[in-house]
Symmetry: C2
Subunit: 346 residues, 2 copies
């Protein structure tokens, strides 16, 4: 027996819309990149809109338990216009992020050579957003009284803990040490004074342990300006769950479209598997048409490999993607063609 | 006596930083535009960082009472790095917006001829953001326990009422009727299900009374993409307090900088005066250097005139600003030079 290769189980959740078209390519890229290095076994999960419409289940307990036992998760996208907003997002995607305690939502933004940014002078864009993944306005607290009456009141509660903030702040500082050693905390501390003040204090405190890393602060509104006017100034952006959601979509647009943006929902304590997904959604408008760009999904496979410690295998994907985009980035191709082109280069 | 001109009292609050440099130009433009049409009396208020550092007051009750009795307010900017974030913003700016029940925060975004957008192909950008101004995460609800300990928990609560949402939704539909008759509701209803669902239901309901107005929906994250990839698609963007804050700064960047973006905090029921301000902040980095662009402040004077019903006088300002930008928009000028140039054209 080959004792040099390790065995891993990967949960595969294609989900909805274009998620189903791009995820097979992520899996193929993973497979090919890991040849001779690691052995992957895939466990597919039929979760998402079709399943929900068929039998009403969103994330059955026994399936979640099986997912928890895997080594990592490849996810496509979640969301379907036939289903009321929030049901699948909260019942499946966010439930996994929360239950599997994936507290670091890691979202690199890079302008690849060959991609046309919508900005006239984009500069050299290469930053990472470290988005908190298990707290804030995403925790599902809040409610409504007197629904459907003129006296309705609806609340949403953002819960933030020093425990939850400190661990993601530490992750960001460690990451900054491997990069250009600069962190920008993004919040809205002039309005959200309770949470904002806590984030700032914890960043200041942890920052003292990393004298080589400089850090500054930007309000979320100002940060959306800088992403357009001077995106190359960022190295590591550290922010909460909602602001991270907003900034990474804008960042995706700035680097030429969310079709190139992958993400990792990371349990950095390795108690549960981490999950890797493109940041784009299920894109119902182009689903089923073999039009979606699988690059982001393929890049999420590279992030999965890095997470498991296979940096060289991840590099194989990165190099193939970079070469593909540089040569063919502006050509209109089908999902399958892009997938094949990238795999052929690996 | 001249009975043709009406008399109005305008509260002037230059505030902090560049607010003090641009507000005098807003006042001069107002004065000149209204010549022969209306008579303005100005009541200056010394509020902001200097005052706070001098005697500890932020917004004394008697001064707020005097402000409430005026017909409209010209405000510069609030915020100073010497003072902990939130104190002036919440104690002065937001307190006025809330106490004066300025529930419509109206923020037009227009790409003027002569301004260079950071976008390579900006298209014809001309939309208005109708931002709710008295609810949501800005209401100051929330708190913290065990501050400064590892067990700290900090919350922020977004309070949303059918009463508060419906009135701003109605304003947006009325405004859309005077424009290109399209509204985009922006929220995050797949995560913030309580508030998002209420917003959507109220938009659907009020929309039935305006069959000529079409409306669609975009998640806040997707909206930040469209502002970069296809900003000309928007006519009226309708959104809550926080999302409106974020989108209007990004929109300001997209139309060539927040130096051209004015806003009105409007009490559309006319119980209290409305307030007009540039959307930019106090910009401490360039304050006191005669560098800030007073155009946004001058445009806020035009919004004030429109609000009081002086559309022709407002047009005088708009025309002068448009001509100035078209001819000299790309020239580096001092605050005073831009102010003089615009006034000379009126
Ligand atoms: C689908 C949605 C719940 C999700 C989020 O808001 O986190 C998505 O926008 C993302 O960024 O992964
Ligand atoms: C200064 C701050 C409180 C304010 C806000 O968040 O509303 C500003 O950003 C704005 O947009 O007017």
């Amino acid at each position: 027996e080959n004792t040099a290769t390790k065995k891993y189980t990967i949960a595969v959740i294609p989900g909805d819309g274009i998620g189903k078209e791009v995820t097979p390519w992520a899996q193929k890229a993973l497979e090919k990149a890991a040849e001779g290095v690691a052995e992957f076994e895939y466990e597919p999960f039929d979760l998402g809109a079709e399943r929900y419409l068929r039998d009403g289940s969103i994330l059955p307990e026994d399936e979640e338990e099986r997912i928890k036992k895997t080594d990592a998760i490849l996810l496509g996208a979640v969301g379907d216009p036939r289903i009321k907003a929030g049901i699948l997002e909260r019942g499946l995607l966010l439930k996994l992020r929360f239950d599997l305690d994936q507290y670091v939502n890691l979202r690199p933004s890079k302008l690849y050579k060959g991609v046309t940014s919508p900005l006239a002078n984009p500069g050299d864009i290469d930053f990472v957003v470290v988005r908190e993944g298990t707290e804030g306005l995403y925790c599902g607290a809040g409610g409504a009284v007197r629904r459907n009456t003129p006296n309705e009141v609806a609340t949403e509660v953002s819960i933030n803990t020093a425990y939850g903030v400190e661990r993601v702040v530490r992750y960001a500082f460690k990451l900054a040490m491997k990069r250009r050693k600069h962190i920008t905390l993004v919040h809205k501390k002039n309005v959200l004074v309770n949470a904002g003040d806590m984030w700032q204090r914890i960043v200041d405190k942890v920052g003292e342990e990393y004298p080589e890393v400089t850090h500054d602060y930007s309000h979320i509104d100002a940060a959306t300006i800088f992403l357009v006017s001077d995106p190359s100034k960022f190295d590591v952006i550290l922010t909460d769950n909602l602001f991270g959601d907003i900034l990474t979509d804008e960042a995706g647009a700035v680097v030429g479209g969310v079709g190139y943006s992958a993400s990792g929902c990371i349990n950095a304590s390795d108690e549960y598997p981490s999950m890797f997904e493109p940041i784009h959604g299920s894109a119902p408008d182009i689903a089923g048409q073999n039009k979606a760009n699988p690059t982001a999904a393929i890049l999420s496979a590279a992030m999965l490999l890095e997470h498991l410690g296979f940096d060289e295998a991840a590099q194989r994907i990165h190099k193939a993607v970079e070469a593909d985009i540089e040569e063919l980035g502006s050509t209109v191709r089908t999902t399958d063609q892009v997938g094949k082109d990238i795999l052929n280069r690996m």
